[in-house]
Amino acid sequence: MRRIPRIPSTASALCSASTPVATTSAAPLRTLRAAADSSSTTCQSCNFSTQISATRNRVWQNTLHTQRRCASTATETTPEATEAAAAAEVATELTGTLEQQRKSKRAGIFEVQRENTLVLPAEPRWAPNAEKIQDPNYEPATSGAGLQEIGGVSNWWNNPEHFKDGGKQFEYQGYASPVKVTDPRLLKVILRRALVEGLALKKFGANPKNPADIASVIGNGNHWDRTVSVEMCRGENGELSLKKDSDLQKVWILMRNAAEKASTTREWQEQVRRLYELKQQEKADQLVAEGKKLGYRLDDDDGSRIRLNVGRALELRKTWNNDWKEATIRDPVVKFYAAKRIQKMAGHILSDGKLTSIQTVANFMNALVTPPKPKKLAEQIEQSSILPELPNVKVYPRRVTPVDKEKMVGRWKVIQKELEKRALPVLGTGNVGKYTELKWLGSKQ
């Protein structure tokens, strides 16, 4: 509970890193930048002090690697030097094994100097001092009237031209599929696949030793047929299970292969992109040719997007019977993995509270299919489709005002014009107060 006085002081924020309080196990993972700066750290590569100037009093945590150069020295680096450094990095990247590449990536060696995407206002230009002007015809102005007003920079970031990346830095890339699937025909197939994979992941785990998280990659192609057509039934205590235990392993291997392929494809795509950026056409073409032999494609997005349409979903639905629908799912681990797969494939984030209440396959389906509760009564009435169909009932999302009533009969424009002609307030009473007569009558209104 908060105690008195609770005035957050910047001083306490600044000294918390140097004298760590750490009363909780949620101890600070990173030291505060300001605290680090208080000992006037110096950039290792460019020998430039990163101490924050005294005029600024905001504190930011800079997560950039220390090896990266500071903004202050960014203009000093020559483009040739940068390119050469990047080329050297690519050379090491191509020769090293995948494991080495991963390690070096974590160490931040591949951070390449790049152009800043933010456009800053130009430095202000100052007019020469009136006394220093030699021109005999010059007459200093005595007032600022007629001067053009430009304004400050408070709206600077509302102009899209000030972002070189076209506002890409504001885009959010979440784990969930960006497209939320709402079609029940698709959702049924996705749920079945998610449950089969959930059971397999429960049995064999998500393989934490593998660099690729196999629960996070969507395999397409024949993965749909092979996972969805696996026979499911009610097992012990009516719990959902697969008829053949061997199917679990098959499904898991299928997922692992897809994840590994997606991981290697991604790395290959990155390398090719980097080479093209550095304009090393020959090397890039060679790499593309090598990759194509191994079955990689530049436009491959199997790992992040589902390829499923209604026709395919209906076809897939013929491969199973309805036994599985009555089965119960109580295992939280199976539900966790199934929910994770659903989040990736269908874009639904199922909360823990909802997962706790889900006990059967039918519950699961309902949770996915049921649309979110309407926020307004009018929306709910509209969705219920009982009242709007009646001929003598009209539903409005808000109160019908006298102005609305005039608009409905087409009289409002006329009234408005007449009021304006007489210089009377169109809406409200303007400067005119209440009737004085009301006061005489002793009304308390």
């Binding site: 949620a26 100037s53 800053l120 206002p121």
Partner: protein, 350 residues
């Protein structure tokens, strides 16, 4: 006539008898899947003494409310039928931030995160906090504290006016205040076990509504590197810096559907995170950030959702379970409370 009247009276009486009632089911509330709601089964069982005198701070448990094993069996089996299996543990998914990838799964006791909603207890806690937060600084001067001479202002007699003593008299303008406010402590008392129960009830309420989002440790706003680079190098003026962060936080929260339109969001961390705290200081319309020590029950009930680090949640529950643990050992054993944050699925490493 009389015979006919008696006949109809007889018929009417018959119709009222229980035997003639058509087989009619009692209008029972459909049993919820959430077993935390008190089931009919426990009400129907013979009342055990322990059950009647149950303390408010003691959480209700469907399978542990009575002493006898027979009753236990009855209740457990009845509860199973009615509620499709009692909930003793609830899962907590730990997400990565900001991607919201489900990374790991932990299990908490239902007595920690799945308590029934008790509005009365929440009310007690919120009022208690409100009282404790009152500063109580209102202060006035009595006639003995007002500065000035104590000389008699006018003669007792002969002026034709009222008698006037000193200038400090409460009757005089500028005089002291009779019975005026003095600085005082408004804080009230609440049993710790009740307060702790309120705390976990608030968390349970959020949990059930899907408004408790647990993230991995190190929760912070991922401000773009380009901005941090410029800000760190002192290239941005204060106005530009604040304007950028305000816009970025707004866009970020809107994309997540956590912003102003969605009722704001409270972020809770173990310690101060510069980007998160400064970001929401600037864009307060989108949400707020609180350190663990700064959180109270009212904070947990405000805003659209709570986003909390996993270790902060663990710490929070550990600090507020006085009704579940005891320091008194009986036969060398001490009740330590349910296990906290049992890991069911470890986060994958890659």
């Amino acid at each position: 006539m009389a015979g006919k009247g008696l006949k109809s009276l007889n018929e009417a009486m018959k119709a009222l008898s229980i035997a003639s009632q058509p087989c009619r089911a009692l209008p029972m509330r459909q049993s919820s899947i959430l077993s935390s709601r008190r089931s009919m089964a426990s009400v129907a069982t013979p009342p055990a003494a322990a059950n009647i005198t149950r303390s408010v701070s003691e959480p209700w448990q469907p399978s542990m409310s009575t002493n006898t094993t027979a009753n236990l069996d009855n209740i457990a089996s009845a509860a199973k039928v009615l509620t499709q299996g009692s909930v003793t543990n609830v899962p907590v998914t730990v997400y990565s931030f900001p991607e919201l990838e489900p990374r790991s799964l932990e299990s908490y006791s239902a007595r920690h995160l799945h308590l029934p909603l008790r509005r009365d207890i929440l009310h007690l806690a919120v009022i208690y906090e409100g009282d404790s937060t009152r500063r109580g600084l209102a202060s006035t001067k009595t006639r003995y504290e007002v500065h000035g001479s104590h000389k008699k202002m006018s003669p007792q007699k002969g002026t034709g006016r009222a008698r006037r003593g000193t200038r400090q008299s409460p009757l005089m303008r500028g005089g002291g205040k009779t019975f005026g406010p003095k600085p005082r402590d408004f804080s009230t008392k609440l049993n710790k076990k009740v307060y702790d129960l309120a705390w976990r009830t608030a968390l349970s309420y959020r949990y059930k509504r899907g408004e408790l989002i647990v993230t991995e440790d190190g929760l912070d706003l991922p401000l773009p590197n380009d901005f941090l680079w410029l800000a760190g190098g002192g290239k941005l003026s204060r106005e530009l810096e604040d304007g950028y962060v305000r816009k970025w936080v707004h866009e970020f929260m809107t994309n997540l559907n956590w912003g102003k339109e969605a009722g704001r969001t409270t972020f809770i961390t173990g310690d101060k995170r510069p980007n998160l705290f400064t970001g929401f200081e600037l864009a307060g319309a989108e949400g707020r950030a609180l350190e663990l020590w700064d959180v109270d029950v009212k904070d947990l009930l405000e805003t659209g959702r709570i986003v909390i680090e996993r270790s902060a949640l663990k710490e929070m529950i550990k600090d507020h379970q006085s009704d579940l643990v005891t320091r008194v050992a009986v036969q060398g054993l001490r009740q330590k409370g349910p296990k906290l944050a049992e890991v069911l699925v470890k986060a994958p490493r890659y």
